[in-house]
C-alpha cells in the first residue's frame, strides 16, 4: 500500500449544513486505483461528505483540510473541482427541462477541455462516444435529445448519471446512493458502467446503504459511517458482516 500514490486525503474534517455540525473529525485517504465503499445508516453524514467534496454551497467546512491531486480542494470553486476530474453522481439527479442531454453533456465536456487547454470535442467523435456509452447503459437514443432528466424514471436518472460519468472520465467518482431505487437489472447495468471506469488511474467512492451493490462492484476498502465519521474500516467482508448483523453491533459499541 505504501508505494501507492495518494489521490485524496481528508484530514480532521468538520463540516456543517446550516447550524448543524454533521461531519466530525473525519480522516480518509484514497489512493489512485482504489474503490472505497462508504456504508452507514440514514443520517450518518454520508451525503454531506459527497457535498463537501463537490463544494456544495450549503455545506460549510469549519475545520480540517481536503487535498486532492496535491491541490487544496477547498480553495477550488465547484466547476473547477469538476474540471479537475471530480465527479459527483447525484442521489437525486436534477431536471433541466428543455435542455437536451447531448447539448448539456457537450457543454460539460467542452468546459473540461477548455480547462485543460484542449480544443472543443468534434461533433462526430462526441456522438460516436455518446452512442457507445448510451448503449452500454441501456439508454435509448431518443433519450439523448430529451431534456436533462426531464420526466425520467428513478432508474433512468441513475443510469444517466453513470452515462455522464463515462463521458466525463473523472479521476475521482463520488457516487451518492447510485443504487437506491434500482431494480436488479438496472443495478447490473449501472455496476457494469462503474466497473468499466475502474483502472489504475481512477478511484471511486461508492456511498450505499446496502451490500447488494457491492456484489457487483468489489471495493478495496469498506468504511462504516456513523455520527459524521468513520467508525470502522475493513475489506469487502465487512460489507457482508454488515448485511448479516446490521449496524447496531457497531453503533452501540
Amino acid at each position: 500500500m505504501s508505494t501507492k500514490k495518494t489521490l485524496l486525503s481528508i484530514e480532521n474534517l468538520d463540516a456543517s449544513i446550516g447550524d448543524k455540525n454533521i461531519i466530525k473529525n473525519l480522516n480518509l485517504t484514497i489512493h489512485y486505483g482504489e474503490t472505497h465503499a462508504i456504508m452507514g445508516p440514514n443520517g450518518s453524514g454520508k451525503s454531506t461528505l459527497a457535498k463537501a467534496l463537490a463544494g456544495h454551497p450549503d455545506c460549510e467546512i469549519t475545520k480540517g483540510s481536503i487535498k486532492y491531486k496535491d491541490i487544496d480542494l477547498l480553495t477550488l470553486p465547484v466547476e473547477e473541482r469538476s474540471n479537475e476530474g471530480l465527479f459527483l453522481g447525484f442521489q437525486y439527479p436534477i431536471e433541466i427541462p428543455g435542455l437536451s442531454n447531448s447539448v448539456f453533456l457537450k457543454a460539460a465536456i467542452n468546459a473540461k477541455n477548455k480547462h485543460q487547454e484542449l480544443k472543443d470535442v468534434s461533433a462526430t467523435d462526441f456522438i460516436k462516444e455518446l452512442k457507445e456509452n448510451a448503449d452500454m447503459m441501456g439508454i435509448n437514443q431518443s433519450f439523448l435529445s430529451r431534456g436533462v432528466n426531464e420526466g425520467y424514471s428513478g432508474g433512468e436518472k441513475k443510469r444517466n448519471e453513470i452515462l455522464q460519468m463515462l463521458m466525463l472520465k473523472p479521476t475521482l467518482s463520488v457516487l451518492d446512493e447510485t443504487d437506491s431505487g434500482l431494480d436488479i437489472d438496472s443495478m447490473k447495468i449501472v455496476s457494469k458502467g462503474i466497473n468499466s471506469m475502474l483502472g489504475a488511474n481512477t478511484s471511486s467512492i461508492v456511498i450505499t446503504h446496502y451490500e447488494r451493490l457491492l456484489k457487483y462492484i468489489k471495493p478495496d476498502v469498506v468504511h462504516v459511517f456513523h455520527n459524521g465519521t468513520i467508525i470502522k474500516s475493513g475489506d469487502h467482508m465487512l460489507a457482508r458482516e454488515l448485511e448479516e448483523k446490521g449496524y447496531e453491533w457497531l453503533t452501540n459499541e
Binding site: L88, F90, I96
Partner: protein, 486 residues
C-alpha cells in the same frame, strides 16, 4: 434555510452587467436632422423630402389629425415617463452627397457601423444567403441582393423606393391591416413614418432566401417610426427577419413601428424579430420605448402567418403581434421570448382573432425576468360565431431569476362558437440553485449554466428561428442575463 445563503453568488458575474450592452456606440456621421416638433408642416416636410405622391401625404395628414384628438393609452402594466412629442425630431437621415447606387457607394462609416453590429452587408449576407435591408435612423441605406430577388419576381425594397416604384401596391395595401385609426401609436406612425421595408412575393413563388432588415437608431432625440409591409400573394412563401439595436443614451428614445402582413390564399409568412434596442442602464436610466403595432392578415384560405420574437432589449416593450384569421383553414402562430433584466418592463403577447372556419392558432410565450424587471403576457383569443371547428392552444411560461422581479399573465378569451376548442396552460418557475449546482458540478461555470438553462426553457421558441439566427439569439439571451444571479 437562510434564503441569503441559498443563492450562488458571484461578484465577477455582477461586474459583467457593466458591459452588458455591446451595441451602445454612436456613429460619427453627418446627418440631416430636422428640428424637433410635430405639426402639419413637419409632416408636409417629411413627405416633400421623400418626394411622395399626393395620396400618401393626404393619408399622413388624416392620420395626424386623428392622432391629435387621441389620448395616450394607459392600460399597459407599465410605468412610463410622460413622452413630450414636441421634443422629438421626426426625420433624421445620414447625409450622403448622392444617393448610393450600389453597396460600393454607401458611406464606409455606415458600413463600419454594420460591421460592429455583426452584419457586414457584403460577406455575411452572401454567406448566409440573406438579403438585408438596413434602416439607419429614418432611411433605408442599402438593400442587398435586390437583383437576385427581382429575378424571382420578389420585390424587396425600402418603403420609400416602393412608394416610388410600386405606388399601386402601396395604395392597395397600406393601412389595410393596421388602419391609422387603430391606436395612438399606429396613428402617430402613419403621420410621421419615414421609411421601412416593403416585400411583395408574387403568386406561387417561394422566396429564394431569408429576407432581413436591421434597424438602428443613431441620432440623439430622434424617434424611429418605420413601417413594414409584406404581401404574400397566392401560394407564395416568405421568411423575414428583423433585428434592432441603438446607442446608449441617457434619455429615452421612442420607437413606434407598424408592421402589416397580408397572406392571400395558400400563402405563408414567417416573421421573426430579434429586438435588442438599448435597455437603459442598471438604474433604469435611458433606453428605448418600443411601442409597436404588428398585425398579420390571413386573408386567404389555407394561409399561415407565424410570428417569432426574441425581445431582449428596450426599457419598455409594448407590443402584441397578432393574427386575423379570416380565411378558412388559416393558421396563426406566435412564439415569443421576452427577457427583461434590471428595470426593464415588457408588456407583450398576441391577439388571435378566429373568423374563418377550421382556423387554428398556437401561442407559445416564454417570459424571463431578472433583478427588478417586470414581464407581462397579455393575450386575446377570440373565436367568432361562424368560426366553426376552430382551435387555439396557448402555453404561457414564466421564469423568474431572483426575488425582486415579477411575471404577470393577462389572458383574455372569448368564444362564440360551440364547436371550437381552446386550451390554455401556464407555468411559473425559477432557476433553482439545485439546477445551477448540478451544471457547475459538471464543470460548467455559472454564467454558461444560466445560458443553458434559459435556452432549455426557451427551446420551443428558439427552434422556430431560422437556423443562422438561432445561435445568435441564444448568445443574446445569455449576454442580456449576465449578472442576473447573485
Amino acid at each position: 434555510m437562510d434564503p441569503e445563503n441559498n443563492q450562488v453568488s458571484n461578484p465577477e458575474i455582477d461586474n459583467l452587467i457593466e458591459k452588458n450592452y455591446e451595441y451602445g456606440f454612436t456613429t460619427d456621421i453627418e446627418s440631416e436632422t430636422i428640428a424637433p416638433g410635430l405639426n402639419e408642416d413637419v409632416i408636409r416636410l417629411i413627405s416633400k423630402k421623400k418626394d411622395e405622391p399626393q395620396f400618401l401625404l393626404d393619408w399622413r395628414l388624416k392620420a395626424f389629425r386623428h392622432w391629435s384628438k387621441l389620448k395616450e393609452p394607459e392600460w399597459g402594466h407599465l410605468n412610463i415617463d410622460k413622452i413630450n412629442y414636441q421634443n422629438i425630431s421626426y426625420f433624421s437621415a445620414p447625409k450622403l452627397e448622392n444617393a448610393p447606387k450600389s453597396l460600393d457607394d454607401v458611406d464606409p462609416k455606415l458600413l463600419e457601423t454594420y460591421e460592429k453590429l455583426g452584419i457586414p452587408l457584403h460577406e455575411r449576407a452572401k454567406l448566409a444567403g440573406v438579403a438585408v435591408d438596413a434602416v439607419f435612423d429614418s432611411v433605408s441605406v442599402a438593400t442587398t441582393f435586390k437583383k437576385k430577388l427581382l429575378e424571382a419576381g420578389v420585390i424587396f425594397s425600402s418603403f420609400s423606393e416602393a412608394v416610388k416604384d410600386h405606388p399601386e401596391l402601396i395604395k392597395k395595401y397600406l393601412g389595410k391591416v393596421v388602419p391609422y385609426r387603430d391606436n395612438y401609436f399606429a396613428a402617430l406612425n402613419a403621420a410621421v413614418f419615414t421609411d421601412g421595408s416593403f416585400v411583395y412575393i408574387p403568386k406561387g413563388v417561394r422566396c429564394p432566401m431569408e429576407l432581413s432588415t436591421y434597424f438602428r437608431i443613431n441620432e440623439a432625440n430622434t424617434g424611429q417610426f418605420e413601417r413594414t409591409l409584406i404581401v404574400a400573394d397566392e401560394g407564395s412563401h416568405v421568411s423575414y427577419l428583423e433585428g434592432c439595436t441603438a446607442p446608449m443614451r441617457d434619455e429615452n428614445q421612442l420607437h413606434a413601428a407598424v408592421v402589416e402582413l397580408v397572406a392571400l390564399d395558400d400563402a405563408e409568412i414567417k416573421y421573426s424579430t430579434v429586438q435588442n434596442w438599448y435597455p437603459g442602464d442598471e438604474d433604469g436610466k435611458g433606453g428605448i420605448y418600443n411601442f409597436v403595432t404588428k398585425r398579420g392578415d390571413c386573408r386567404g384560405k389555407n394561409s399561415k402567418i407565424s410570428w417569432t420574437q426574441i425581445e431582449t432589449g428596450s426599457s419598455v416593450t409594448w407590443k402584441y403581434p397578432s393574427c386575423l384569421l379570416r380565411g378558412d383553414n388559416s393558421i396563426g402562430e406566435f412564439y415569443s421570448i421576452a427577457l427583461s433584466n434590471h428595470h426593464q418592463q415588457a408588456d407583450t403577447g398576441t391577439k388571435m382573432i378566429h373568423l374563418g372556419k377550421n382556423t387554428k392558432s398556437k401561442i407559445i410565450s416564454k417570459g424571463i425576468s431578472a433583478k427588478k424587471a417586470q414581464n407581462t403576457y397579455r393575450g386575446l383569443v377570440t373565436i367568432a360565431k361562424n368560426a366553426d371547428h376552430s382551435r387555439n392552444y396557448t402555453q404561457c411560461d414564466s421564469l423568474l431569476i431572483g426575488d425582486k422581479c415579477g411575471a404577470h399573465t393577462f389572458p383574455s378569451i372569448g368564444v362564440n362558437n360551440s364547436s371550437s376548442i381552446l386550451e390554455h396552460e401556464a407555468t411559473t418557475s425559477k432557476i433553482s440553485d439545485d439546477q445551477l449546482f448540478y451544471c457547475m458540478q459538471r464543470g460548467i461555470n455559472e454564467e454558461d449554466a444560466i445560458g443553458l438553462i434559459i435556452s432549455g426553457f426557451c427551446k420551443e421558441v428558439l427552434n422556430e428561428l431560422p437556423m443562422e439566427f438561432a445561435v445568435e439569439a441564444r448568445a443574446l439571451l445569455q449576454v442580456n442575463l449576465e449578472g442576473a444571479v447573485g
